[in-house]
């Protein structure tokens, strides 16, 4: 079977938790995507901005490591 289900087998259950989802997939969705809002409303406290920016750099590295593992290239 080539298809890997990362969450539920049956469509229709969006509620509940995401415990069946890998953390990398979750980070990719939650950190990379989602609406970015700018302006005076977003607190630019150092720690929060750092979380956002450093994670992005970090995730690039993880994605590469993951895909090269899955692709069988070491």
């Amino acid at each position: 079977m080539s298809v890997v289900r990362e969450t539920s087998d049956a469509p229709g259950i969006l509620g509940g938790d995401s415990s069946g989802t890998s953390l990398v997939d979750l980070l990719d969705r939650v950190v990379h995507r989602g609406a970015f809002v700018s302006g005076d409303v977003t607190i630019c406290l150092a720690g929060i901005e750092l979380v956002r920016l450093d994670l992005r750099l970090l995730l690039v590295g993880i994605a590469e490591a993951t895909t090269s593992r899955e692709g069988g290239v070491t």
Binding site: L14, T67, V73
Partner: protein, 247 residues
């Protein structure tokens, strides 16, 4: 300045003003005009996590899972635009300003999403990649050049194949999807990374089509991975905001 003792409103998603959250999320809904912001008051110190700690029980994992859980709970009750992880506003007045400036375009995005949900499709290469240039035999100039040429050719083939697979997948699922966001394959084995917005009534057909494609494409040396359903993370981008999409 230290964050200790300060609190802010962590913002999960923008929704329509009539959104009613289930009671168990810990979040609440701030309404302004036609829109609502799903928020929770949090001590800012809680958000200063060690981003190198990616363990499943680490602070970052907990925050990310909570973000996803609240977005999912809200998405079950109506269309939402999930916000980027780590979006915090100082107070309710700032939350209103956030909604104030986005009444028109956010409402339009919410209408476009409706009850559709996001599905991720990744296409990965299962056969061996091109030989790494670093492994080229440098003892012979001719051999080196031949290997370089082969590597370049392989890279070109991979790019052409990614394009071909992308068109095949898009064409096969077109009738079941209302929108798509494609990202370039990043790592060595990843040819394609697409997010599809699929109306609920078409989800079964969409998943069946992906299953069928996966079987077909397995023979061509590529593997399809489907994930979902997700809240519409990839379809929440607002007009007039800088394109902050990740790599």
């Amino acid at each position: 300045m230290t964050a200790i003792g300060l609190t802010g409103l962590y913002a999960y998603a923008i929704a329509r003003a009539d959104l009613e959250l289930p009671g168990d999320t810990g979040a609440r809904v701030l309404r302004h005009g036609a829109l609502a912001l799903v928020v929770k008051e949090v001590p800012l110190a809680d958000l200063q996590v060690d981003e190198r700690d990616l363990s499943e029980d680490g602070a970052l994992a907990r925050l990310v899972r909570e973000h996803d859980a609240v977005a999912r709970a809200a998405a079950e009750r109506g269309p939402v635009l999930p916000l980027r992880f780590g979006t915090v506003v100082p107070d309710e007045a700032a939350a209103q300003r956030l909604l104030d400036s986005r009444q028109v375009d956010a409402a339009r995005r919410l209408d476009a999403i409706g009850s559709a949900r996001e599905w991720g499709v990744k296409v990965l290469r299962t056969d061996d990649g091109p030989p790494a240039a670093a492994e080229a035999d440098r003892s012979s100039g001719v051999a080196y050049l031949a290997q370089r040429r082969a590597a370049l050719q392989a890279a070109e083939d991979a790019s052409r194949r990614a394009q071909h697979v992308a068109e095949t997948v898009d064409a096969a699922v077109e009738r079941w999807v209302s929108d798509a966001v494609r990202r370039r394959g990043g790592g060595q084995g990843l040819l394609l990374d697409v997010a599809y917005l699929v109306p609920r009534d078409d989800e079964t057909s969409f998943v069946a089509e992906i299953d069928r494609l996966a079987a077909d494409l397995a023979e061509a040396g590529v593997r399809l991975e489907i994930s979902g359903p997700w809240p519409p993370y990839s379809f929440a981008a607002l007009e007039g905001e800088p394109d902050e999409r990740g790599p």
